[in-house]
Structure formats: structure tokens, C-alpha cells
Amino acid sequence: MTGIVIVSHHPDLANGLKELALQMTSVDIPLAVAAGIDDPDDPIGTDAVKIQQAIEKVYSDDGVVVFMDLGSAILSTDMALEFLDENQRKNVHLSAAPIVEGVLSAVTQAAAGASVQSVMEEANNALSQKQASLEEEYPSDSNSGSETDTKKTSIPENAIKLELTIANSLGLHARPAAQLVQAANRFKSDIYIKNEDKEKNPVSAKSLNQVLLQEIRKHDTITLWFAGEDKEEAKEGIIQLADDHFGEKTSSRLSEPKNVETTESDSIPDPDEEGAWKGTVISPGLATGPAIRPSTVTPKISKETSSSSKEEWSKLQEAIKAVKSELSDQKKKLEQHDSEAAEIFDVHLLLINDSQLLERVHKKITENGVSAAYAWKHEVDAVIESYAGMQESLIRERADDLREVTGRVLHKILDIPWRKISAPKTPSILVTDELLPSDIEQLKSQSIIGVAAAKGSPTSHASILLRGTGIPSIVALGDKAIEKVQEGKDVVIDAVNNQFYPHPTNQQFKILSEQEATWKERSQATEEDRKKPAETTDGTRFRILGNITRSEEAKTAIEKGAEGIGLYRTEYLFLNREEQPDIDEQYRHYSVAMESMEHDQTLTIRTMDIGGDKNVGYLNQIHEQNPNLGWRGLRYHLDHPELLHIQLQAILQAAHDTERHVEIMFPMVTSISEFKKARSVFKTAVSEISNYNKELISLGIMVEIPAAAILIDKILPHVDFISIGTNDLVQYTLAADRNNEKVQAIANPLHPAFLTLLHKVIKTAAESDTPVAMCGEMGGDPTMTPLLAGLGLRDFSMSPGRIPEFKWQARKLDMAKAEELALAALDCDDPEEVARLLSPE
């Protein structure tokens, strides 16, 4: 963070200013004071040595800005620079800004994480802002929000240009814009941005508000200018960021780890003919009942106040501070799990760190003598309005973000709680924009029987917690799905079939209520027996395992009745971050997952499977035409054995320390030679662990490439276990992309060709006594169980929510019939014929 030094003749002046400035922020800013001299009789003066020490105290390579009062303060600071280490000196800048205004602006800017250049710039602007506000004799409140937006920026002549066309599906909305602003702030150069398609004026790319107000959307052409010593690097940096789609993925299916079904809110089209909306099921089940919406009570605000302006101002400061620290807390909590979601808090923090807004509010409080709440609301509404007036819908939505954070501040000033989910009298369905982790805590204690959320992802922290509650829930329904839902009106969540009815007809409501009753009964029964084994009528025992994406889910899976983890996808740990997780971080995650296992249970952990579709910058991947057939999984790791080595070390150490049985599974194996290479990396890692207990670790592969399935008899002698990844094996065998709507239907696991391959793998494995499990979608689908069991499969791994129901159905299975069915299916000509066999009529 940029450091700030205040140099003054008088300690009172400097310390007073420091206090004033720090009120602007709750962030710990490196700020030091060098004021007065060591003469008790005459302490007024400046001392170059003190200044040098102050600079050194706050120094970091992010740079330092020094503010001075006058005369010798400047001379002494100049002198102090000479005493500094040469490397430090070039990062220390003397600001010509008026000291009070300069320091105040600098502190807010530095708190926002801005570069030293933009701190300098913001400080220098402080004077012109003051001038501008004094020129207007009768300041008008209404247009105050747009003051900065209309200011024309002139581009320096030596600036270099960059033209980009935006590919992000939602344009540069808050998150990618924040990425751009943050990246821009890392460079010394001035960076300007202009949306060529909207005929806007160029603005600084270092200000979030200004970038957002450019309303940049998909396919828009933007021009960026770079001027300054590091303009080339800056340009290069922005090009990279743009190549990385400003930290976003361009299409939703690429955005989540493999095998996770996901639908992002922005890709939701419309409801079906029945009026039902699709989203992402978090926890299956049915719920019908009145909707409740988390209320943000509109508080009463009185304009008058009996306290002094000073008290009102500090009330606001306190409120902002409190909200900031809440936001930082939430961000920190989320960061460990979901850095992408955590970024949204950055946006919120940037939004309330708006020094111009604060200035206006302050003015209103002091000059008009109104209450802090009134002044805040008044000024904030003006800004929200200017957002809302924007053409671009996504930018308009920024108004919602702003409404949320500023609302939080307002509630803090008035000391009333923000966003309380009021306990309903009758069992109700929570319909909300987005669930926050803190909401889930509230849900548990209330009679909420279903949750529908416009936003969300299956892997968000809130979703994981939500899954743990077992409340039927669908997220990522899209804003439109929930927008017209009224509090108290009946809605229906059918999280068995992934359908949300915001306005069910009486008929629909009646039918679904009945189904709900059956489902409840059924789910009660399945839930009760979830920990009991899945044993068929004739005593054949299945092993039911959980698929997890994140370490914390292991516990939920076991709780849901899993007898172990059949697939722990470790990709999640590696996504959405700038550096790869080090061994300690990996170790911690793996340990958490392992510790959730009983000692007789096994955790199957898959080494990182990331390909060219995931844009993980630090992995130096290349962009691929056909990432599914590309450089991913073990293929990548064998070219970077050092990365594989780290992951294996972390796994081994965690297994050793937690004393759990762990199966290490390599993805994307085409030939046995690849496995052997991986095994030799494994052996090196083993040799580095003292007291390595051989019993704890097994090595195996994921069978997901047809080549491995066809030559399974050549592979089995070398591996301890195999697991069939049906999602990829199906699409590779049938040459149909399961994510491509046009050919999805072809990627049908019922295809006899696929079943034949499957049969071969299962049978060969059984003959050689090698454990074989199935961890793809197919394995968790109860309608497939007879077929798979008939083909000889006994170990099924699936998402934990499916386990109780799966076990319940498995217990009713007749093995003799299942085997008959499998034989018949292998004999079919096409998938349709198999489908008819499965559900006759």
C-alpha cells in the first residue's frame, strides 16, 4: 500500500491532520508524521533526519507520498531524500498539493489500494475540487454526482494507444472493471480509457466510477492510452488482462470445475411453457408455500438533528468504518473458499471509498446542519440516480450494489439491523437475489422450507452451507425469475426437477403440493436410513461414495451417508487465483478432507485436472482450439512434474499426518506409460517423507479416455484401483460434446457402444480383483442403477445430495433382474432401444 508522510513545522498541526485523515478510512494505512524539532523551548521547525526516518518507517516498494507545509519543510524533505537509499528514493514522491486537502484525498485513495501515481494525482486534484466548490456560489445538489464525469481529460501527446474489443458476455461490469482499475493502478503511467461505441470522453482508467460510467459492453471497442515511463509495461499488462477476459471467463460452461453442472444467471433464457424457471439445484426436494423476501426495511430518516455537525459527521464515519470492516471480514471469509465471489466485496469497498461522495456529504452536514443519515441518503441517491440513468443495464445494476452498501451504512447510522430475514409464522420459501453465507445461519433457526436465489453458483460458500441444511433449493435462476415475486404469495420450488414456479397456477400449486407431501414422506424415510448400507434384496452390497469439489464438503458428504469420498476434484484449489497454492495451503485443504473420513473409509483424490479452457494464468497454458482433447490432466502434469510433485507431497504428508487411507487418482491417462511416469514422480515424493506408511496410499487412474478402456487389461496389472469417469468417456466414445446443445442428445450414456466398453472395463477389473468405481453423472442417477449393477458395478460415487435417495432405491433392487437387463442392453442396436428397456411402456 502507498505510504504517506506528513511533514510540518508544528507537531499539533501534523498530528491533528493525521487524526482527521485516518477518520476517512478503516484500512490500516502506513502513515507517519515528521514534525517539529527536538528543542523543548522552541519545538517549531523541521528536521531532515526525522523526515528521513518517517519515510523509512512507511516505506514499501509501493511507494511513498510526502506532504509538506512550507519553507524549510520542503527544503528539509528534499534533503531527507538525499539520505535515503537510492532504490528507495525513486519510489518517494513529494506532493505539491495543499497539505490538508492533499493528505485527506491521498489517504482515501491509498486505502483503496491505488498506486502511488494515482494517490499523487488524487491529491493534486484536491485543490481544484476546492476551487470548483468555492466558485459555485449556490451549489446545486442535484447534479453533484456527475461533476467528475463531465470533466474533459486531455491525452498527452506521447501516449501509446491500445484498441480492444470487449468479449466479456456482460461487458466491463463491476468485477472486470474493478480488475481493470486495479491493474491500471499498478502502473505509474497515466492510463485513459474511452468507449468508442458510446461516444464518451476519455477518462482515467484508474477510477472505478469513471470506468463504469463508460458503459462498456460486449463487442464495444475501447481505446486505452498509456503515458508515462512504464507505458509499455502498462500496455502489456492490460493486454494480458484483456486476454484473460479481465479475470472472467467468456462462457459459463468454462467457468466451473469439470463435472459440475452449472448454469449462470446471465445465461438463463426464459421460463418454460409451464412458467417454471431452471437454475442450479443445490439441494434436491420439493417445497410449496408463501414467499418471503429478506427485507431491507426502509428506515425513517429525519432531516433535523439535535447534535452538532461534528457529532453527525463522526456518526457517519463510524458507520462507514463499521461497514467497511464487515465487508472486509466477509471478504476474508470468502476468500479462502471463493476468491471470485470475494472480489465483489472489493467493488463494494471501492464504492464506499469514494472521497468525492464523502466530501459532498460532509459539506451537506456542516453547511446545512442536517443529520448524517439525511445527508448520506441525499447524496447517495444522487449518485444512484446517475447510475440508474445509464443506458447500459449492467451499469444500471451497479446502482443496486451501491444501494446495498450505502444502505448498510445508513442502517448503521440509524443503528437498525441490515437485511434481516424475519422469522415467518408459517413455513415459507425464501426468494432472494443472492444468498450470503451469513443468511444461512439465519435460515437454520427459522421455518424456511425452500430457497430460490437469482444468483449463485454450486460451489459458492453459501451454496455449500445451504446444501448442508438439506433445504430444497435452486440458485442461479436469474433476476427475472424472482423479480415479480411478492412477499406472502405462493411459490413452488421443485428442486427434484430443477423447476422454480414464481407464479404457479392453482392447478400447479395443488399438484405440486401433493407431490411435496409424498416427497417429504419419502425423503424422511430416505434420510432416516441414509447411513445404513445400500444392500439389495438379495444381499448384494453397494459402496456409495461422495463426489466433492472442496475440502469442506467431505464432512457434508459423510453426513449424507457417503461411505467415503470417491472423487475429490482438486482443481478448485487452483482456479481463480494468481499464484498456485503452495504446499502448505494444499496440505491444509487435503487434511481437512481426510479428517472428515472415518479410519475405515477411503478418500480418492484426483490430481489437478485443468486444461486450456480454464485460464489459470500462472500455469502458462496455451489457448487451445479444442481443450477437451488438449493439454490437461496428467498430460499437463507430466510436462510440469514439479507441480505434480508438490501436489503429491502435500497429499502424502496429509495422509501421513491424518492417518487416513487415500487413493491418488491420475486423470486423463491414455497409455500405461503415462501412469508409470506419474508413479516415478510419486516415488520421489514418497522418498522425501519419513516413516511413510505404504498401507495408507493406493495409486490408480481415472478411466475416461477410450484408449485406456480398450486396453484396460494392459493397465490393470499396474494400478491399485480405477474409477470410470463417464462424463468424458461418453463424450469421447461418441464424439459428441455434452455441453453443445445441438449434439448433447448424441452424448447418451445408454449407447450400446458405450455400454459395451463399460462392461469390458468393469468385467476385466473384477476378474483381476481391482476395485472399480464410477464417479461420473451416470453413477449417481438411480434410474441407471439396475443397468450398472447388472454390468457388475458395485462402487458408485455421486454428489452427496443424491445419496439418501440413491441408497433407498438401491435397496429395492433385484439383482437377477438387473443382470438380465444389462445383458439385453448390451444386445441393443441404439440408445433408444436401451431407453425403452429401462422404462418400458
Partner: protein, 213 residues
């Protein structure tokens, strides 16, 4: 040739003068500044005198660097970094020994004053210490160029400094605190120019006293 003892005498003499003229310098600074110049100079040079006691073994370069550091951290006003720079840059331009040649002394002043100007960006006529330092330097340079006796040369330099000091009276201050007064800084003698004159004349005294002994 100037000896180490002469340098020490110079600095001690300056200390005496600043102590004696403290009230006067402050009086001058009161008229066009913040009434601290006398205190500033006195504080700085008392510290210098104190520190000299520990420098009996040091060479001239060392002593002058000590003066620089002492002034920088104890004067407090503009005079601190300015005189500090004078001694710092001056000391930097001479060799470490117990005697320096006349031309070394000239170098000291040349480089020192250059430093002051670089630091404070003052030109001749801005009503600052530069207005007595520059004429003193000019005279010293000429005298040494003409192979005059060093005592004589310094005597003349002090006279030029004095003249420069007096000529600041009608000037309008362009630098330092006095510049905030604009026209109103006229008709007052610049305190910094005055303390600079003292510095030069203290040197003249120290060198002539020594050689006459």
C-alpha cells in the same frame, strides 16, 4: 594553506557570533519572517561547538561533514537544510587531511554555494543568504586567482558579503518565508544574508588571528 586548528577556530568563532547576535538576527527575522533565525543559528552552532570536542582527532573533511549533519538536524528552519547543504557539498569537494590549500577552500565555498542554490533554487537578488554568499565567493575567487595572501582574500570576501547583505535591504523577497510578504519585505535586511556574512567574517577572523600569532 588553512590548518585544522583554523577551521576549528572558525566554527567556534561563528558559534560566539551567533550567540551574541542571536537577538539581532531574530529581530531581523521578526520583520520579514517568523522571528526564529537567531535562535536557529545559535542552536545549530552551539551544537557544532559541543560536537567539536569529540572531533579532536578528525580531519578537516570529517569536521565539516559533522557540521553539516549537526546543522541539518538541529537548526529547524530553512537555514538548517541550506547551511547543512553548504557544509555537506563543501566538505564533499575537499580531501581528507589536516590541512587544506587555498584552492581547496575556494572549492569548498564554490561547491557548497552551488549546493545551496540547487536546494533552495534562489538566484542573486531574491533576498536570501545567496545575496551575501555569491559576492563573497566571487571576491575570494579573484583574490586567490591573483595569488593574494589568504588572510587578505578572506578579509575582502567578508567585505563583499557585508556589502551583499546590506544590498538586500531594498529587495523584494522571492524565496523563503519573507516571500509571502511581497512588497512589504522591502526596506528590511535579510536575516539569512546577515548570518551568512557572519559565517564568512568568522572565517576571516579565525584565519588572520591564527597567522598573526
Amino acid at each position: 594553506m588553512i590548518t585544522k586548528q583554523e577551521i576549528i577556530n572558525w566554527l567556534e568563532r561563528a558559534g560566539e557570533i551567533y550567540e551574541k547576535q542571536r537577538g539581532y538576527l531574530t529581530e531581523l527575522d521578526k520583520a520579514i519572517g517568523d522571528a526564529d533565525h537567531g535562535n536557529n543559528m545559535n542552536r545549530g552552532f552551539q551544537k557544532v561547538t559541543e560536537n567539536l570536542a569529540d572531533h579532536s582527532d578528525s580531519d578537516i573533511k570529517n569536521i565539516l561533514s559533522m557540521v553539516a549533519k549537526t546543522l541539518i538536524s538541529s537548526v529547524g528552519g530553512a537555514a538548517g537544510p541550506l547551511y547543512g547543504t553548504l557544509f555537506l557539498k563543501g566538505a564533499g569537494s575537499i580531501d581528507a587531511s589536516d590541512e587544506i590549500s587555498d584552492s581547496d577552500l575556494l572549492h569548498f565555498w564554490e561547491e557548497g554555494i552551488k549546493g545551496v542554490q540547487a536546494r533552495g533554487r534562489a538566484e542573486a537578488g531574491d533576498k536570501t543568504m545567496i545575496d551575501s554568499l555569491l559576492p563573497a565567493l566571487e571576491t575570494l575567487k579573484q583574490s586567490i586567482g591573483n595569488n593574494e595572501e589568504i588572510t587578505k582574500a578572506l578579509e575582502k570576501a567578508a567585505q563583499s558579503a557585508k556589502k551583499g547583505m546590506e544590498e538586500t535591504i531594498p529587495l523584494i523577497a522571492k524565496k523563503g518565508r519573507a516571500s509571502y510578504l511581497g512588497e512589504r519585505s522591502k526596506e528590511h535586511q535579510d536575516p539569512g544574508a546577515t548570518s551568512s556574512y557572519y559565517l564568512v567574517s568568522a572565517l576571516a577572523e579565525a584565519v588572520s588571528n591564527n597567522s598573526s600569532e
